[in-house]
Amino acid sequence: MNKPRVIVLSGYGLNCEEEARFGFELAGAVSEIVHINDIISKQKKLSSYQILVVPGGFSFGDDLGSGLAFASRMRNHLWEEILSFVRRDKLVLGICNGFQILANLGLLPALDGRFGKREIALLLNKNARYTVRWVDLKVTNDSLWLRGITTLSLPIAHGEGKFFASREVLKKLEKKKRIALRYFRGTICTAIDLSDNPNGSVENIAAVTDPTGKIFGLMPHPDRALYSFQHPLWHRQKEELLRRKVKLPKFGDGYFIFQNAVKYFSS
């Protein structure tokens, strides 16, 4: 099997690089954490990798708005390299803060296929507070990242995750099928009785892709749902299965997103 090479960015307060790297390793990729300054100083090259991951975290403390300062650093130093990366047959994943960074960079949603224009924003949550909980998501486009998945449950943890775009942009997103995931009332929301939309996102949007579906940004964390025992109700599931003498499945919903990316290169 051909193992794709993954680069996971770190530095300046990004903090989910280890679990993102682990997710790809678990799914069969070769994955490496690289500090952004090591790319800027040309010790590492984006072009040596097939998948670029901007993981979650608190880059620059969200100080000027989430993802803004890190995006500015990427644009100042790496813009050409990034453009040549995304123009090839390569994948980009932005999780949470990484999604905010990709949105600020204008890599997402790149409505007309042109990169670099800010078209969407991730704003302060409706409750104006950092919020940690699990959500249910419905898959609403055919991005390769989501192949074979129709619904899934993942955790969120963010202060600025409210998806926003102008009416015009929303229409285009809808029409061009760029909305990848929407919050909905599924198994978890029903069981633990929480609202479907955790942050006030317009039209329940949780994730979008670029025109090719290869650049994928989402607020929820698939990297925190790799195993079934990360699910908030897994003890109940375990007990139920134990009584039926069935083993708990190994992987959680998030794992399959990483697996899809690996499959894309290995099949």
């Binding site: 307060g13 500090h35 300054n37 500015s72 950092y130």
Partner: protein, 999 residues
Amino acid sequence: MIKAPKRGNVLITSIEVVPNIADPRAEIRKRHIENLGLAQKISSLAISDIYTIEKSLDRKAIDQIVSLLVNPITQKATGKATLPQFDWIIEIGFLAGVTDNVAHTLKETIEDQLKIRFKDGEGTYSSQRTYLKGDLKRNDCESIAYSLGNPLIQSLHVYPYTDILNKSSFFLRIPKVLIRTVPSVSVVNLDVSDGELTNIGSLGIAEKDEVRRGPLALDLSSMRKIKKYFKKLGRNPTDIEIESLAQTWSEHCKHIIFSSEIDEVKEGLYKTYIKHATELVRKKKGKKDFCVSVFSDNSGAIRFDKNHLLTHKVETHNSPSALDPFGGAITGIVGVNRDAIGFGLGAKPVANTYGFCFAPPTVKRQIYRDKGKKHPMLPPQRILEGVVSGVNGGGNTSGIPTPSGFLYFDEDFQGKPLVFVGTVGFLPFKSGKKKLYEKRARSGDYIVMIGGRVGIDGIHGATFSSVPIDSNSPVSAVQIGDPITQKKFSDAIVKEARDLNLYNSITDNGAGGLSCSVAEMAKESGGCLVELEKVPLKYPNLSPWQIWISESQERMTLAVPPGKWRKFSQLCKSRGVEATIIGKFTRFRKCHVSYKGKTVMDIDLQFLHDGFPRKHLVTKKFNRVSLQSSVPKITDYTSAFVDMVGRWNTSSFEFISSQFDHEVQSTSVLKPLQGVGRVNSEATVFRPDLTSFRGVTLSYGLYPSYSELDSYRMAACCLDSAIRNVIAVGADPETIALLDNFCWCSSNERERLYQLKEAARACFDYAVSFQTPFISGKDSMFNDFVGFDTNGNKIKISIPPTLLISSVGIVSDISKTVSLDAKFPGDLIYILGSTNDELGGSEYFTYLKENHHNAIFHSSVPQVRAKEFRRLYKAYFHAIENNLIASAVSVTRGGLGVSLSKLSMAGKHGADISLEKLPGKWSRDDFGLFSESQGRILVAIDPNKRKQFEKQFKGFEIGFLGKVTSDDIVRIRNRQGKDLVVTSLSQLLNSYRKKFANY
């Protein structure tokens, strides 16, 4: 809006950014103001952010910055005419010298984007405006401003909207630190009377203008020791020498009360009762000893598996949190993270813990620090909200999960809240051949400071926290944290430099700043030589003593061998971390400090560390004499049952659990909120190594309400609960370690010392009996407030003596862990352990007293029978290993009643139980329900496993209580089979979630 008037020769630009779509911040702020009782008066509100840049920039540069700051989709930069007409503006910025993280990032980003540098004297600043419209008077706006900001750290300005039209330079009030005095070192004459020595010790060194510098917390006997030492040297000390001794000898750093001889206990409480307990346990465990490093480093450490060890440390940040709750809490949590990073050669922080003791938010009594009532203490609700957002800011921003914690309320925490924060660290035993849990600075190593720069913030923090809060409390001790600066060096150290073997030792710059960290590491090599002018400063003109003792946050000190400096410094530079050589470690037995070539401090290391006077403390036993009435009877058990789960001390605190990230690092196994009913659990489980299925469980025990009745039993209950809570979820009873945090009051009073001694004695007895070693601890001895009430009368508020026992246990297979929710209808409910008439200090008695005009009645504080309990816990662990337990609730505050509610609410299943088989000696139904007898676990099991379960617990005191039901009714029958309690899940959940519904 952009303005560029001149200030001196430097142009100042302010950029105001307002949202052009609905702003949730504004909506929430409006609601906040309406809650202040101004609902009728306010019609609209808007919030803007202001970025001020003090640097000459051309138009193009300013445009570039504007387009960087303004998100065109949602925001705009305003001119004065673009905002609708408002009546008032409240502008809140930081006071000069207070950490401004937004400004810091702005500066860094401008430098990167525009490829320019800010020079000395240039800078960036952030502030925020609230625009108000409505029928508001100036004093309304001032009280709003006070409710939004804290004058100890922020500047609060209120002005009419028209001012913005008339005056062009309103928000250009730059909070810049300008120290006009020239840095100097003074000699302190100690050839003075005892009276003056006492003054110097308690109020501080007098400046030329007679103003005192602030508390040194040195008593007369310490001052005399210092006088004698310098007399022998034939000179008077410098100010920096006295300040340095005050830091090193402070109660905060030396724990004098815990280390002094007390009554017949020659070696003091710490050595005799805490350290010795650990020694005995380790000896008894022999080859099964799992301690790796105890009491000697920044954290304590135990073995996690063959290749890794686990560190834990719990700190308090009480005094700073009382004055500035947000700043106190964020610096507390980020500070204790450095106790992990500073363990051995650097452990990675993998979990935070918290515990907050406050006065109930409903307490409205206003108290002041001064007789003139100019300095009010913040109301309890502000302190609660500030502390919660401080830990939120520190933990979340640093990317460290914060799963485990608690809230506890008592009116006597109004003067000084307790803010406990802890950090668990994870590190391999070895990197190559090098042991990572040991360290030693060597003579010749560079002394290297990394992280933030030094300012006058945080001066006298260590000495301040060693005395009660009063009008002399230095407000400069209050600070704000900068988690990203720390995150950058934390990553550089624990993820890179450590494994490249680039340094020999590392420690935290916490209390006492460089004076403590450098002097502490100097013990390893045998001395130090520091050149203070090399220390990077936030602004010029700090005097040497200030540089030396400043507690400016987010700094660590390392010992870097000269041959590795180049590589180390390059690594730091490439990670955006400032690292500076500030001296050398030596072997000359001296702490030698110079400033611009001149010696300013030259003290024997031995005297610095061990010269403090030894004390002999004496305690006095006392009996609380009180008239006692009999315990009132209740008739409505259902109401009591429902009320008991909605008390301040038993309520859901989901609003905290759902804003402290416990999923980051992808390690959570058993979360803080459990079951479909989202019930707060006492213990959580996480998995520090992503490739392993071994887990760590964390919990705590804390019973301040027992202290005044029997502090020995209080401590015993803390240990038992802390241990049992982690066992209940699946910890192996043989691999549990403990941490002690004593927060006492008035520790100069003999009766308080008696209580302290009793509590410490219990720590020894039970740690040994349970075979649970202490690995780390910390104490805080003067949690008193001395101030004034609204009538100007002097008042003293002391906290109830409080012991926090934190527990950390290893779970060998996380798939065996058990959550607290009832799983399926038909499951059988049992109680393990016996229930007795033990309600002294219980939550139920407090409840009864509140409902019976504060009548006084007592009962005994629960007794811990360690031998018997330990046997039960071992049997329970076998049951867990054999998958016999479906649900488990460790019975703590509120007794069986609250535990049963939690089991039912979490599973959203009803229950039908009877007290008929409730084992133990209990005389009344309500006592049986709410007794806080220790050693009990409430469990539910699969009915098919009944035989196996009962066999496992044969010979133990356990009782079959009833069943989980498929309806939503919780029903409890008394011994005669009559209904005592009949209530519904929705009633219980309403009560459980009511207290913090609006948080």
